[in-house]
């Protein structure tokens, strides 16, 4: 892929994620999406950059904060919005809502809203990949808070012990709901992980193409060695933990942090990058317009779609 094509693809992902989230913020007050939302605004580079380094066959696993992951792994946008609307055409017929999204067709296998509980599942997936000698890797996304759970360390141990093809992506926003990392952790994440013998790379860039390059190296390493790799990437959560609003007024963090991080906003960085490598304003606009249109159409369809019939409650429990 040419550099300009790659950067355009990255921008498309990042812009779509941002605008989809902004669309949700716009619609949410109408109370037509009856599902708590943990928005990905601020986190786009990490997700888009890493997913850009994965192939369609590679699997990803996520958390309750997975709108970005769904979009970056190219899940179906109609089914995404329909799920938020709780409609039958949603990815899980309205059963999952925002907190338990997935898109197995596109490699986003599962997510969980119980912190860290998805991590061992991804380790098992990596085991299956190795067992079946498949040519793919597994990436699991989780927050800084998830590393406090015992199961995180158990998963790390198992994946290193068994040399499994898994990419751990720790998305460190220094917060678990409202609690700062310094009030929760006696360790620093990359340092604490290293003794397991895993490759670790830590960065605080919000530049999507830099993260892509980092992730690409990591994924290559995994493919080559068959061993796990740990990425520790920082970002700033622009909004409240759950919901559509800013919450700097509550005093547990300060607006100055936002101002600083917003200076390196993923969408702005990538847009400037496109201009810098000679892509015209018109061409960028057409990428943006296409994304806007696709979001608008998916929302329209979701709004008009029917709910599941109530007997649907009893379906999908056992195979």
């Amino acid at each position: 892929m040419t550099e300009s094509e790659l950067n355009k693809q990255l921008y498309k992902k990042i812009y779509t994620i941002r605008m989809a989230e902004e669309k949700i913020r716009e619609i949410y007050p109408l109370d037509v999406m009856k599902t708590p939302v943990h928005l990905s605004i601020g986190e786009e580079s990490v997700i888009a950059g890493v997913c850009q380094a994965l192939t369609q066959k590679d699997q990803v696993y996520g958390t309750y904060r997975s709108h970005a992951l769904f979009i970056a792994k190219e899940g179906d946008m109609d089914a995404f919005f329909a799920e938020l609307y709780g409609k039958h055409s949603g990815v899980a017929k309205g059963k999952a809502g925002s907190m338990h999204l997935s898109s197995p067709e596109s490699g986003f296998m599962a997510s969980s809203a119980v912190v860290a509980s998805i991590i061992p599942v991804a380790v098992g997936a990596a085991f299956a990949v190795k067992y079946k000698r498949e040519d793919c890797v597994v990436a699991v996304f989780f927050g800084d808070g998830a590393t406090e759970e015992g199961v995180f360390w158990e998963s790390l141990n198992v994946s290193c012990l068994k040399n499994l093809p898994i990419l751990f992506v720790c998305e460190d926003n220094e917060l678990a709901i409202h609690a700062h990392i310094s009030d929760r952790q006696a360790y620093t994440i990359p340092e604490a992980v290293k003794p397991f013998g895993i490759h670790v790379y830590s960065d605080k860039t919000t530049d999507p193409s830099e993260i892509y390059t980092i992730a690409q190296k990591a994924v290559r390493e995994i493919r080559k060695t068959g061993k796990p790799f740990f990425l520790h990437l920082k970002y700033h959560r622009y909004l409240e933990h759950v919901g559509i609003n800013e919450d700097y007024c509550h005093g547990y963090r300060c607006k100055e942090d936002y101002t600083e991080w917003y200076g390196a906003d993923p969408v702005k960085i990538q847009r400037d990058k496109l201009l810098a490598i000679g892509i015209s304003e018109g061409e960028i606009r057409s990428v943006e317009n296409a994304a806007d249109r696709s979001i608008e159409e998916s929302v329209q369809k979701a709004a008009e779609a029917p709910f599941s019939d109530t007997c649907e409650l009893f379906e999908d429990i056992y195979a």
């Binding site: 708590p36 809203a113 119980v114 912190v115 015992g150």
Partner: protein, 347 residues
């Protein structure tokens, strides 16, 4: 008597017990942030300092064992989970350690620990943020399980739980926080193991758990007005230990028993009550015991399915009509509870 909300009742119980006994401390995720567990831990860190009210890492299993260790050393921990679903990570400590530690010491150790957890329906909370689990906890010998419904019971039972020398799990339905009701102004307790007759009646008994008391009262009001039926509602309040006598005598009196549980039915608390009634009221019972509770599925997100998942007042009315051979009650114009239309009391 003063009128306060359920949220304030919990808060007052914590403040009062922390003032009374320096061994009491409160901890868990979110207990000291600006939201304060739906307001129930408000003011604690300011009043008692971070040594006695503190947040923890995300480490539910560890922090439960931590509480056990503190408790066998004479402290009185109150561990809080903002959803019972997160408490599932601590099932090892609860079922293997907390429940059995005294037994394994041959009665030498005491475990005065309280675990508070929030249960039940919110708004699109789905399968990992809305469980109840009281049947599972009550299945384990060595722990007590308490589900207060009114502000008076919430305060009185939490005080009893904190003063109890055994592990007590207190489960609070999140829709109850806004309910207001009268509580005594002076220090009081509600004994663990004593049911409350929420409403007296002669025609049929409804055993209701937690939020289902609100639904049952609504159903009873409607049936009283429109059908002249007197429903007796029994709130067990503590399901382990269980006030069997209160349940048995009510069912003997009315001859009909409905269990409105707030949990799955299969192998659950409702089955326990059905067995109890069958053992003790076989001569008096005039119709088979009927149970209602969660649909036997994980909880869905979308509203139409969520509505079908949870039991409500209309379900209770329909069952009573069926049992007592009543014509369908006209429910037009009745307002039922939903997230948007929460019951605010007084209860």
């Amino acid at each position: 008597m003063i009128t306060i909300t359920y949220r304030e009742a919990i808060n007052q119980a914590l403040v009062q017990e922390m003032e009374r006994d320096p061994a009491v401390f409160v901890y868990g995720l979110d207990v000291a942030d600006h939201k304060r567990i739906f307001g129930t831990t408000a003011g604690l860190v300011e009043k008692f300092g971070p040594g006695r009210c503190f947040i923890t890492p995300l480490a539910e299993d560890c922090m439960t064992g931590f509480g056990l260790g503190a408790a066998i050393n004479g402290l009185r921990p109150v561990h809080i989970h903002i959803r019972v679903d997160f408490m599932m990570l601590a099932m090892n400590q609860i079922s293997n350690m907390l429940s059995s530690c005294r037994y394994m010491s041959g009665g030498k150790l005491k475990i005065p620990m309280v675990i508070r957890a929030i249960i039940g329906r919110g708004w699109g909370q789905a399968c990992q943020h809305s469980k109840s689990m009281h049947s599972v906890f009550a299945h384990i010998p060595g722990v007590k399980v308490v589900l207060p419904t009114t502000p008076r019971d919430a305060k009185g039972l939490l005080v009893s739980a904190i003063r109890d020398n055994n592990p007590v799990i207190v489960l609070e339905h999140r829709w109850l926080y806004d309910i207001s009701g009268e509580v005594p102004e002076t220090d009081y307790t509600i004994p663990i193991g004593k049911a409350d007759i929420v409403r007296k009646g002669k025609d049929i008994t409804v055993i209701a758990v937690s939020w289902m008391n609100v639904e049952a009262v609504k159903a009873a009001d409607i049936l009283q007005q429109k059908q002249g039926i007197e429903v007796e509602i029994v709130d067990p309040r503590t399901i382990c230990p269980l006030d069997e006598e209160a349940i048995i005598s009510s069912v003997k009196k009315t001859g009909h028993c409905i269990i409105a549980d707030y949990d799955w039915l299969f192998c659950g608390f409702s089955a326990e009550i059905a067995a109890l009634v069958s053992e003790h009221c076989f001569q008096e019972i005039k119709s088979p015991v009927k149970r209602l509770g969660f649909a036997h599925t994980p909880c869905p997100t979308t509203r139409p399915l969520e509505n079908k998942f949870y039991p409500n007042a209309v379900d209770i009315i329909r069952i009573i009509e069926d049992k007592l051979d009543l014509a369908p009650t006209d429910l037009s114009g009745e307002e039922f509870y939903s997230h948007e239309n929460k019951f605010k009391g007084p209860f």
